[in-house]
């Protein structure tokens, strides 16, 4: 596969939600984005991977997307499409409706596309993970994809930003099964969707138990780049992580040969740095071990798969110890008392099973 060849350039600036309408076009201009032509199709991919209020920092604020649409309209009149796929929490249509994108599309005359419902073509890829990839037709004819990601933490990968947002272009709803292989999957997607402009909305990001159950972080920063890997390297630094600490980023830097010092950075990174709070290291370690186990065990042994699930369930325990509770998508919050009861119950079951196994042996 061809690698993205454009020399990576990233621009950063502090911004508020009100100012971003002026700041985003300025940053886009500074990295040298070609003005769209009348016949172009521009696909905007916001992060709507959860049906969660934009002020939690989990989903892209429609105002940021509106700023980008206004900029595109000033420099031409291309066909503009806002695209998202169905995800485990809901459908793209529900996300458009509930997060203000339906209203935005009607007001600005842009089309909303649910990628999961689009006609797809199968692309022969021979990639690091995918041999073939299902690509929605609209993405095949897109002149450019504008990847409008969020600046947020991720319990399994430390950070979820521009590269991870592209994962939402995989139109299958149950794409969570690719999570153990995310390094390779994202690298493949970077090669397929290489005509990308990345805009990272870090005006209000998310810290802690991200990507959907953390707390808002008023980071007040916007990052624009012509390469998702480079944009993520800068984003990681701003959040207080070393790029090599982010597993998929480390993999992509090696695989696509993008070095930190090869990125042309416009703006003052140090002035934008914010320390994003993260989950306890022990929790992260359990999440990573669960992924590693799933990667090894999937398709080989059901027991290994079950053990990976168990590790994933146990991972928030250290977070609960630290802050007294953890947010749970299916109920609300889990307090320490309940966590102890669950842990005791689970241990009892594991021990009973182990005893039965020993007896059988």
């Amino acid at each position: 596969m061809d690698k993205p060849v454009k020399s990576p350039k990233v621009a950063v600036q502090r911004s508020t939600l009100v100012d971003c309408e002026q700041i985003i076009p300025r940053l886009i201009a500074s990295i040298g984005f070609d003005s769209p032509r009348e016949r172009d199709t521009i696909v905007i991919k916001p992060n709507l991977g959860d049906i969660n209020s934009p002020d939690t920092g989990s989903t892209t604020h429609p105002f940021v997307v509106e700023s980008i649409i206004n900029f595109l309209r000033k420099s031409g009149y291309p066909e503009i499409v806002i695209a998202e796929s169905n995800h485990p929490v809901g459908t793209a249509d529900e996300a458009f409706e509930q997060l203000g994108y339906r209203e935005l599309s009607e007001r600005l005359g842009v089309r909303l596309v649910n990628l999961s419902m689009e006609k797809k073509v199968r692309l022969a890829l021979n990639g690091d993970y995918f041999q073939t990839l299902l690509v929605p037709e609209i993405l095949m004819r897109a002149t450019n994809i504008i990847n409008v990601a969020k600046l947020k933490t991720h319990v399994q990968y430390r950070m979820s930003c521009a590269m991870k947002n592209i994962f939402g272009l995989v139109p299958q709803r149950n794409r969570g099964r690719y999570h153990p292989f995310l390094n390779e999957v994202l690298c493949d997607l970077m090669c397929v969707y290489d005509r990308q402009l990345c805009v990272i909305d870090g005006i209000v990001g998310m810290e802690g138990q991200g990507p959907s159950q953390g707390f808002p972080k008023a980071a007040g920063v916007v990052i624009v780049g012509n390469n998702a890997v480079a944009a993520d390297i800068v984003a990681a630094k701003i959040m207080g992580f070393r790029p090599s600490q982010i597993p998929y980023l480390k993999y992509a830097m090696n695989r696509l040969d993008i070095r930190e010092d090869s990125i042309d950075i416009v703006g003052d990174i140090d002035g934008c740095k914010q320390r994003f709070e993260f989950i306890p290291f022990a929790s992260y370690l359990l999440y990573r071990s669960a992924l590693r186990l799933a990667r090894t065990g999937l398709g080989i042994s059901k027991t290994l798969g079950n053990f990976a699930e168990l590790l994933k369930l146990a991972a928030p325990f250290f977070l609960i110890r630290r802050q007294g509770f953890a947010i749970d998508l299916s109920s609300g919050a889990v307090l320490e008392l309940q966590a102890r009861l669950y842990a005791r119950g689970t241990m009892k079951r594991v021990l009973t099973k182990a005893k039965a196994l020993m007896r059988a042996i």
């Binding site: 969660n52 002020d55 939690t56 485990p88 529900e94 209000v204």
Partner: protein, 341 residues
């Protein structure tokens, strides 16, 4: 930069106040409300201010006011929606005050201590032409919605019976007031029973008679019943059997038997089981649940409240629910005699 968060929140059109910052607020309502697009928690109210402050710190709601009484909020035009999560004994007073002040109200189940109190709330709602939603969140659980959808489409034919099991371990419930374990608003039938009763009303319609058996207390020191069996005869001719229990298991599931098939649904699963009668060679099939199965039904219920779409239980149904619970207690007192409504 914190003012940027505040500015962002101002874009939210709906100001919400949570009244009662105990276990339900901490575990379910506040985390769910935070995820509702367009909603902003602007006040946390509890007679014990420490509880309100605890919720404020826990969920980092620095811009929300913490208050001891609802009086200031009733005059505050920035707060249009109130979520009542106090013990049931104060529901009537709070809901009536709020509705009369023109607020939209979401009240945790049960609506009130008695059907008579419930009717007073209903009258207040009609007088003020306000909006009253009840915390029967399981109507928004994807699995149960799927069953309702299939019943409406006639999948199982004429519905003959419904069995609902709501088993929950109440002892570790982190209650602040402990009201569940007192005669006033507590007990498995009064406190937990309204959920499965609401499901039965929703799926099979009006009830014409009730029978109930309150089972032996597992804990001899408890003041209230911890297990109940309720039988409902519906006007449609079908029957519901409801088992509510506060013992150790956690399970909320149902089986619907119709003239053409059977369906089984369970909270938390992403599929329901269905069996169509008379189809040779066919066995149970697993039907996927369309809407998100893994998100809190509280979130969908509160979203419905904030957006004013009112797809949940009506206040009239909530009062009917209280009448059924009262009739069930009457029946239990006379050894399970059928009580006509």
């Amino acid at each position: 930069m914190i003012d940027e968060l505040d500015r962002l929140k101002l874009l939210n059109e709906t100001g919400v106040a949570v009244i009662g910052c105990g276990a339900v607020a901490k575990l379910y309502l506040v985390p769910a409300l935070l995820r509702v697009p367009g909603a902003e928690i602007r006040a946390l109210i509890d007679t014990d201010l420490r509880q309100a402050e605890q919720v404020q710190n826990m969920f980092r709601l620095s811009s929300a006011k913490t208050l001891k009484s609802i009086d200031d909020i009733l005059r505050d035009e920035q707060v249009t929606h109130l979520v009542v999560a106090t013990p049931p004994k104060s529901h009537a007073e709070l809901c009536i005050k709020a509705l009369e002040s023109g607020k939209k109200v979401y009240c945790e189940k049960p609506l009130a201590l008695s059907a008579a109190e419930g009717r007073l709330i209903l009258d207040a709602m009609k007088r003020s032409a306000g909006q009253l939603s009840i915390g029967f969140n399981y109507r928004f659980a994807a699995q149960f919605k799927k069953v309702k959808d299939l019943i409406d489409k006639g999948f199982a034919g004429k519905i003959l019976s419904l069995s609902v099991f709501f088993l929950t371990n109440a002892s570790p419930w982190p209650t602040e007031t402990g009201f569940q374990f007192t005669k006033e608003g507590g007990g498995a039938l009064f406190e937990t029973g309204p959920h499965p009763i609401d499901i039965a009303l929703w799926l099979l319609g009006q009830v014409k008679s009730v029978s109930c058996i309150l089972q032996e207390k597992m804990d001899s020191n408890a003041l209230v019943e911890d297990s109940a069996l309720v039988f409902l005869r519906h006007s449609s001719g079908s029957t519901s059997v409801i088992h509510v229990s506060w013992h150790s298991a956690n399970y909320f599931g149902m089986t619907v038997v119709g003239s053409n098939g059977v369906m089984q649904a369970e909270r938390g699963l992403d599929k329901i089981r269905a069996l169509e009668f008379g189809v040779v060679g066919r066995n149970w099939v697993l039907l996927p649940v369309q809407s998100p199965a893994n998100t809190s039904s509280y979130q969908h219920s509160l979203h419905d409240f904030v957006k004013g779409t009112c797809r949940g239980a009506t206040p009239e149904e909530a009062v009917r629910n209280l009448e059924l619970v009262e009739a069930a207690f009457d029946s239990a007192r006379s050894d399970g005699r059928w009580i006509n409504l």
